[in-house]
């Protein structure tokens, strides 16, 4: 989308919603929000709102997907028709197929799959409102939902995006920044490690910007991580 000529995304070092360049939007995380799912979480990052729910470990159907000696993780990311400005037709599209795969791969490194031979852990993420950063918010919610479900994991996975707008590297793009910005770089980090389990980039960056953006996104993950732990603590006290 082309930015209107008179639009400024950064004014006097502040972004349109008043944030500093390296500031994340308000984050709200709640664990255990659904009655029928074995684990669940609700996450808000600014205007982005997602719910994740876990079923299983349970038998796999169709059978040929079953894995000998270990469990599998299945992930389905969807957006509610009313989550975006122009109503989205229900059902999966190419974007949601790719994102489901990305979320799955971001989470797999932490799960102890050997504990549930032949079973499936089924994770569903529903975006009920989208305001940029839905894949990061999905990973955050999914990670908490898996923990809430008691799935054994070696750590939580946190996720946040950095980006570039009007030549500056900033943390956690919101909707207008994503539409009119120059680059978006979502990252997921395995907490307590240097391991990156999600890394994508849309948009042009030079070497220095790339390094800066990755560092900034990783620092955002640390902030998110604290909120995740806090939500789980609240749930179980």
């Amino acid at each position: 989308m082309k930015k209107p000529d008179d639009m400024k995304l950064i004014v006097k070092g502040k972004r349109l919603d008043g944030r500093k360049l390296d500031e994340i939007r308000p984050v709200k995380i709640e664990a255990g929000v659904l009655g029928r799912a074995i684990g669940s979480a609700y996450v808000e990052v600014g205007g982005t709102k997602v719910i994740a729910g876990v079923h299983g470990p349970r038998g796999v159907y169709p059978k040929y997907l079953e894995k000998q000696g270990r469990a599998i993780l299945r992930v389905k990311y969807s957006m509610a028709p009313f989550s975006v400005n122009d109503r989205k037709r229900p059902g999966p599209d190419r974007r949601s197929v790719e994102l489901s795969k990305m979320i799955k791969h971001a989470l797999e490194p932490v799960i102890f799959f050997d504990e549930f031979p032949q079973l499936s852990i089924d994770l569903f993420v529903e975006v009920i409102q989208a305001d940029a950063g839905t894949r990061a918010a999905s990973i955050v919610a999914a990670s908490v939902a898996l923990a809430d479900a008691g799935i054994p994991m070696r750590a939580l996975v946190s996720s946040c995006a950095a980006g570039k707008i009007e030549g500056k590297i900033v943390l956690d793009l919101d909707g207008p920044e994503d539409n009119y910005g120059q680059a978006d770089l979502p990252v997921a980090v395995i907490d307590g490690t240097e391991e990156i389990s999600l890394l994508q980039l849309d948009g042009e960056l030079n070497e220095k910007e790339l390094k800066e953006a990755v560092q900034l996104a990783v620092s955002g993950c640390r902030v998110i991580h604290d909120k995740q732990k806090e939500a789980l603590r609240r749930r179980y006290q």
Partner: protein, 257 residues
């Protein structure tokens, strides 16, 4: 649920409900509106532990040839797998389709939305009103929860502004409320042996063979009905369900603003 448990429940439930409600007693109802700012209207309903989210989106489209001066309404339901381990992702199945169509008939047949006021340019452009039902947690009686959430979301909805080229301008102040003039409320009873149970839970639904949904209006008239499931009902069951629907509908309508 095993066959034995089902059998046990069947003999038991017409004397005493699992949650100790009276046969004609509804679960507590909570309605929250406006929580999806992106949508033109939205509502989340909790009926007991059943949770349903409805978003209303408006778009500009072409009218049907046989009603060139009327807006178009579309009701769609998704049984998200997060709501129930039994739900599967994929295209809407039988139950999702029936749910959407029962809610649709309540709205449509009551003439709840004044479709004539949704004409922008006769025969060319009208408002399309999309009501998307998202089931978040299924603990029984989805139809009532979805029907109430839909009318609540409609009452919450604003008509977006059109710019001078006729495109929607969502940044501008809305053009006022959606013209909603009726509040159809679906009320469902489940039949077990010969007892009718109001607002059945998901566990009760497992042993119930028939449900009857009666949708009534403020004036006490019925505007839609649906017998669902493979059992049968009698004329006196219908009378009972109709009375209950009127009474309960009145209570629920008070919670809508």
């Amino acid at each position: 649920m095993t066959k034995q448990t089902k059998q046990y429940l069947k003999t038991f439930l017409d004397k005493q409900r699992l949650d100790r409600r009276r046969a004609d007693e509804q679960r507590p109802l909570e309605i929250e509106t406006g929580l999806i700012e992106r949508a033109e209207g939205s509502a989340k309903v909790k009926l007991g532990n059943t949770e349903v989210l409805v978003g209303v989106k408006l778009d500009v489209g072409t009218p049907f040839p046989d009603s060139p001066d009327e807006g178009v309404i579309i009701v769609n339901a998704e049984l998200s797998p997060i709501a129930d381990p039994e739900f599967e992702s994929g295209p809407p199945r039988e139950n999702a389709i029936e749910l959407a169509r029962v809610v649709d008939r309540g709205i449509r047949e009551s003439k709840s939305i004044e479709l004539g006021k949704l004409c922008i340019d006769s025969g060319e452009k009208v408002w399309m009103v999309f009501m998307d039902i998202y089931i978040l947690n299924n603990e029984g009686n989805l139809v009532d929860a979805a029907g109430i959430a839909t009318i609540a979301a409609l009452l919450n909805a604003r008509l977006p502004k059109l710019d001078k080229d006729g495109n929607i301008d969502r940044d501008a102040e809305p053009d006022g409320k959606l013209p909603v003039v009726q509040k159809p409320i679906p009320v469902t009873v489940g039949k077990i042996n010969s007892t009718l149970l109001a607002d059945p839970t998901e566990k009760e639904e497992e042993v119930i063979e028939t449900k009857l949904t009666v949708t009534t209006l403020e004036n006490g008239n019925v505007c839609a009905m649906q017998k669902s499931g493979s059992g049968t009902i009698t004329a006196s069951d219908l009378e009972y369900a109709f009375e209950l629907s009127r009474k309960t509908g009145k209570e629920i309508r008070k919670k809508l603003n």
